[in-house]
């Protein structure tokens, strides 16, 4: 079998690209791309080989997000959000027979997992919950007014956060995994947005019940710090880099075409393009370095729960999201009206609309405020090659 990245590139260019416009126009789930991703067995790649998967690393997943993001941002973002859930199961479910069984099903049935972390009434703070897991012997029930469950209607399962028990404080949370048949969804809001329209990030009331074995054995605090937060920021950054890379590719094609038309003269946008390529390199280097840092720290719960690591991951999110729109804005200037058009080979309008989601998916101001708090405690500057 060819590498996971080669398979993803193929799905991206052959399928996701072809339907990206219709997914965006109609704000619909990218069924064709996900049919192809499932056929290419790309949904369960992070599952360890012992459970039938490819044992793909975080770097492999970021690379796939980047490859898909160049063709259809919604497809890439859904893929990223799915892999965040898979990462939580893979890294925190090994001790539980039910979750080991789920890993095998993720590979065998290519299940698509969504996430219900945000909740009405907590003001966007995913680290606190109103709803609680209610246990009754071997069963649990959960009702959550989830302000967003991206692609909830098209997922095969959902990871939901909730207070560990009805008497637990808001910050003492668990994650439960519920699969189709365990839950009902009542839609409370639609998704008609500027960009990322195919993610269908609608609101739902989730009503679920299941076996207590479906509750992930670790606390959400650990899962969040060690896996969900870094995987989220790195895979999202991979998606944004993919969007920005394609916008820059279009700007480069535009300038080459200009240069061919008037041989011997440097096109007026060429200098701006040089600056754009420079910015893209900064963005890529930042993401690659942080992915390596995470990979190196992965087996050390100590490092992953350190404040310094949280700051580094926060910075990847805020930095990459800001850089994405900056790079695409530059590409727009390079392409001029050809970039501003919504059609044609040099259009970067969808790129720009999709990339603007980056600053508000977990609002950058919220993350910067969190970083500001952490910096009150941190003292030392890490060494350059630490």
């Amino acid at each position: 079998m060819t590498s996971t990245l080669a398979r993803a590139r193929c799905v991206g260019s052959e399928v996701a690209a072809r339907y990206a416009e219709s997914v965006d126009r109609d704000a619909r789930f990218p069924h064709e791309a996900f049919g192809a991703l499932k056929e290419a067995k790309l949904l369960g790649v992070m599952v360890p080989r012992a459970h039938g998967g490819d044992g793909a690393s975080i770097a492999d997943i970021v690379a796939i997000c980047h490859a898909l993001g160049q063709h259809c941002a919604s497809t890439a973002m859904i893929y990223a959000m799915h892999q965040i859930q898979v990462a939580c199961v893979v890294r925190h479910g090994e001790a539980s027979a039910w979750h080991r069984g789920l890993m095998e099903r993720l590979v065998g049935e290519q299940l698509l997992l969504a996430s219900a972390t945000t909740e009405a009434g907590v003001g966007g703070d995913v680290r606190s919950s109103v709803c609680a897991v209610e246990r009754d012997c071997a069963r649990f029930t959960l009702q959550k007014n989830a302000s967003v469950i991206s692609y909830g209607a098209d997922a095969d399962g959902i990871l939901a956060t909730a207070r560990r028990a009805p008497d637990a404080p808001a910050s003492d949370q668990s994650i439960v995994v519920v699969l189709k048949g365990d839950y009902t969804l009542d839609r409370t809001s639609g998704w008609d947005t500027m960009g990322m329209r195919g993610t269908c990030s609608e609101g739902f009331v989730l009503r679920a019940s299941g076996d207590v074995a479906q509750i992930l054995p670790a606390s959400y605090a650990d899962i969040s710090a060690q896996t969900m937060l870094p995987t989220t920021h790195l895979t999202w950054a991979g998606v944004w880099l993919g969007i920005a890379s394609d916008a820059v590719a279009r700007a480069r094609a535009f300038i080459r075409a200009e240069a061919r038309r008037k041989p011997g003269t440097t096109p007026s946008g060429a200098v701006r393009l040089a600056e754009t390529v420079n910015l893209l390199q900064l963005m890529r280097a930042n993401i690659v370095a942080a992915t390596r840092d995470y990979q190196r720290a992965m087996d050390s719960a100590e490092t992953l729960t350190a404040l310094a690591f949280a700051v580094a991951m926060n910075n990847i999110k805020t930095g990459s999201s800001e850089m994405a729109t900056r790079v695409i804005n530059h590409a727009l200037l390079v392409c001029g009206l050809a970039g501003y058009r919504s059609d044609g080979p040099y259009s970067v309008t969808r790129h720009l609309r999709d990339a603007h989601s980056a600053a508000v998916m977990i609002n950058n101001d919220r993350i910067l405020a969190n970083t500001a708090g952490l910096l009150l405690a941190l003292k030392d500057e890490p060494e350059i090659f630490a």
Partner: protein, 86 residues
């Protein structure tokens, strides 16, 4: 209960770090289970630095350092011992 753990309880209560009264807790109770958030640990640390005139180095800024009054006592004791030796 020794004096150090009592002082730590005062810091916990002064900063409004916990949704519960710290004097009702045992030294070994899991503070995260009674509502300590990662954001609140920053204020807790600042409060401890002020009260004991110590500085928490980055290596101690981990979740486990603040997980119980016992764990905080161990960290503060270590910092006080280092200060004395210096």
């Amino acid at each position: 209960m020794n004096e150090l753990s009592q002082q730590i309880r005062l810091v916990l209560n002064e900063g409004g770090t916990l949704p519960v009264d710290a004097t009702t807790l045992n030294d070994s109770d899991d503070l995260y289970a009674v509502g300590l958030t990662s954001h609140a640990t920053v204020n807790l640390m600042l409060g401890l630095e002020e009260r004991f005139d110590v500085e928490f180095p980055d290596r101690l800024l981990r979740r486990r350092t603040f997980e119980s009054i016992d764990a905080i006592s161990a960290a503060v004791n270590e910092l006080l011992a280092t200060k004395k030796a210096a």
